[in-house]
């Protein structure tokens, strides 16, 4: 017999699916969009902005998709040879994928933010929770 350490919460915090009358339908993991990404050793000229979300931040990822930083749209106007590592905002705020969508919207409004990155407890990028992309 095995005992799952951390129980159901350890599962949902990874953004893994659940079932049931409520299930994971109200968790923010079901509402994220995929932001444009860049690697830490890239330059600004390497960054390809997603045309579907041209005003969102670019996620700077390390090995195993761990979120290391964010490039704000204004950083993309820097000279093409600028290293991403110098232009990024390190360690941006994140939330976990099991947070309820209503709580995320309330917090974004309270903090006057348009978006927040969603990562697992280990820091792997799940997606971007963007107010204009959440329709509840």
């Amino acid at each position: 017999m095995y005992d799952l350490v951390g129980g159901r919460a350890a599962w949902t915090v990874l953004g893994l699916p659940t079932e049931g009358s409520v299930g994971d339908r109200r968790r923010i993991s079901q509402f994220v969009v995929q932001p444009a990404t860049a690697s830490l050793d890239a330059t600004i000229g390497d960054v390809v902005v997603d045309s579907a979300h041209p005003h969102g931040p670019v996620a700077v990822l390390g090995a195993t998709r761990v979120l290391l930083g964010a490039l704000q749209p204004t950083a993309l106007r820097l000279p093409a040879q600028t290293p991403v590592q110098r232009a990024m905002q390190p360690a941006p705020a994140t939330i976990r994928p099991d947070v309820r969508v209503e709580d995320v919207l309330e917090q974004l409004e309270k903090d006057h933010l348009d978006h927040v990155f969603v990562t697992t407890a280990s820091g792997e990028l799940v997606g971007l929770a963007a107010r204009d992309a959440i329709h509840v």
Binding site: L4, V5, G7, R8, W11, L16, T18, E19
Partner: protein
Amino acid sequence: MATRIDVPLARSVLADGAQLVDVLPAVIYRQEHLPGAMSVPLESFATTSITDHLDPSRAVVVYCFDQH
């Protein structure tokens, strides 16, 4: 005595055919549970044994809400 395992290992054990048991209250189970889990609430242990619900030839993964 149960062996404590993390989520990646649990997924591997489940992929190999283990049974998954949710011991949360039935009302909580109905709202949300892990895929494929069966409900055997802790409070039911007073009248039944967990083994009444399980195939003894297969491994079992048990979970609660968080730490327990």
